[in-house]
Amino acid sequence: MRIELQDVEYRYQVNTPFERLAIHDVNLVIEPGTYTALIGHTGSGKSTILQHLNGLLQPTKGKIQVGDRTIEAGKKEKQLRPIRKKVGIVFQFAEHQLFEETVEKDICFGPINFGVPEADAKLLARDALKQVGLGEEILGKSPFDLSGGQMRRVAIAGVLAMEPEVLVLDEPTAGLDPRGRKEIMDMFYQLHQERGISTVLVTHSMEDAARYADEIVIMHKGTVYQKGSPNEVFSQPEQLVELGLDVPDTVRFQLRLQKEMGVRFDKPCLNIEELAMEIKRVMKWGERS
């Protein structure tokens, strides 16, 4: 499903002394089957954009096309359920949304809300639980008896069980240990690859953005500052540093090599293997000359 944002603006608390412009002039297309990473500082409007993708927030200006549905500023939208079924959001600290007595019931909650019969929902729950790497033995447990990491996984399973076409992830691994972090990010990537789910990832981690995304969108002060493939975006690392954003460790390493040893690289390296090859190539060339 394609999502397109056209000149979207959103103001919080219009007509109060707290009125605040969160995003403005946002133009963005999320093509079906792509993996997009949204990066930017806290307060740059990432989370606000994300909540527009399934109609949780409606723009104060501009319009959003979600599949065949258009959400326009100023119109009162009803019946957003079909959109919300297709666009699943995993919020930051998703475990806060758990509430049912058992893990199974909690995972089934979404599907049942969207009209899936209970028996089918239970099957979906099992499948989703397997996806997030948990065993079926916890289905009958209370979600509040689980560890923090397990709770997060159950909450994610609750969104996966809705079988969304677009998966929106708001820092899904915040506060997890490095291993759990990698496992969950890999799992999302696998879903994206195998089932062709379009994925939108909001993250602070440049490593994750570089590793998984096809397109990186950089937000700055409420609007899109730059967008492009990881190669394009990280080929001008100085610009990112100027914005106060991080660059992947490998790119930072390249920058230092360039500065301290005077070597030149043709392209940014986004993972360690690539960097090693590139250094090998560049250094040899250096010897010959």
Binding site: N15, T16, P17, N54, R84, I89, F91, Q97
Partner: protein, 265 residues
């Protein structure tokens, strides 16, 4: 979704009302709540209205903001108005529809009660809108100090109050977040049959309670870790200062009281 609420909310601004001592404002509210009941005719309600209006102007809070914030309460006010209009049987019959007589006394009574309601809400909102929760509790603690002799746990009460006030915005924010998370999972909070909407409270309340309890525990541990041991011998960083404007506020309120006593029937 909860952003329109103004109760318990502080709006930072530079205004005479913001600068006043919380004690004078608290006393004013307490006093006002009492003297509202003195008013019983048009003149006295007008006097109270002028007093309220002057305070609103002094607070520099935009009218529109107050109006928006009070919208949810209008239904309650309207309800009391109708109750009085239909059920008070005093004075002449003004109008009768379908066997239901509307009396002049009822309309008057209804209007007065609704006005009284509005004044009370406005004045109490003004207090919280112009005073930070911290100063309110500081003021409260100071005002209640004499009761310490009667073994009243003044400090503890003030602490409880400041904690609850402090967490109102946090919990509102959290409510908003959880509502959104559940809405993304297909809960419809704003439309659909009443039965479904009441049911939709559960996925909201359970996480809210869970996190509130967790937060309370964390707060208790954090306080203990920083050596909190109750109010005994505790000094204050912010000192309250009673200024001329504060005396002026109390004097003007006394003047209003005198006027009310003169003009009431």
């Amino acid at each position: 979704m909860m952003e329109k609420m103004i109760f318990g909310r502080y709006v930072p601004a530079e205004s005479p009302l913001h600068r006043m001592d919380p004690r004078s404002k608290l006393l004013m509210v307490f006093f006002f709540v009492c003297i509202v009941f003195l008013a019983n005719n048009t003149m006295t309600y007008v006097i109270l209205g002028i007093f309220t209006l002057v305070l609103i102007i002094l607070s520099k809070i935009p009218f529109r903001f107050l109006y928006n914030g009070l919208k949810p309460v209008f239904w309650l006010i309207l309800f009391t108005l109708f109750l009085h209009v239909f059920f008070t049987k005093e004075g002449e019959v003004l109008y009768s529809i379908a066997g239901l007589d509307i009396y002049e006394g009822g309309v008057r009574q209804g209007l007065f009660i609704s006005l009284r309601f509005t004044y009370l809400i406005l004045i109490t909102s003004l207090l919280t809108l112009t005073t930070t929760p911290i100063s309110i509790t500081d003021g409260m603690e100071q005002l209640l100090n004499p009761f310490k002799k009667l073994k009243m746990p003044v400090h503890e009460l003030a602490l409880m109050m400041s904690i609850s006030l402090r967490f109102i915005p946090t919990i509102m924010e959290e409510t908003d977040k959880i509502m959104k998370a559940q809405a993304a999972r297909g809960v419809d909070f704003s439309s659909g049959p009443i039965k479904d909407r009441i049911k939709s409270i559960v996925p909201l309340l359970v996480p809210l309670f869970v996190s509130a309890f967790k937060r309370a525990e964390e707060l208790a541990i954090a306080m203990e870790a920083r050596g909190y041991r109750g109010g005994e011998g505790r000094t204050k960083y912010r000192r309250l200062r009673w200024q001329t404007v504060d005396s002026l506020l109390i004097v003007s309120l006394l003047a209003v009281t005198v006027l009310l006593v003169i003009f009431r029937t």
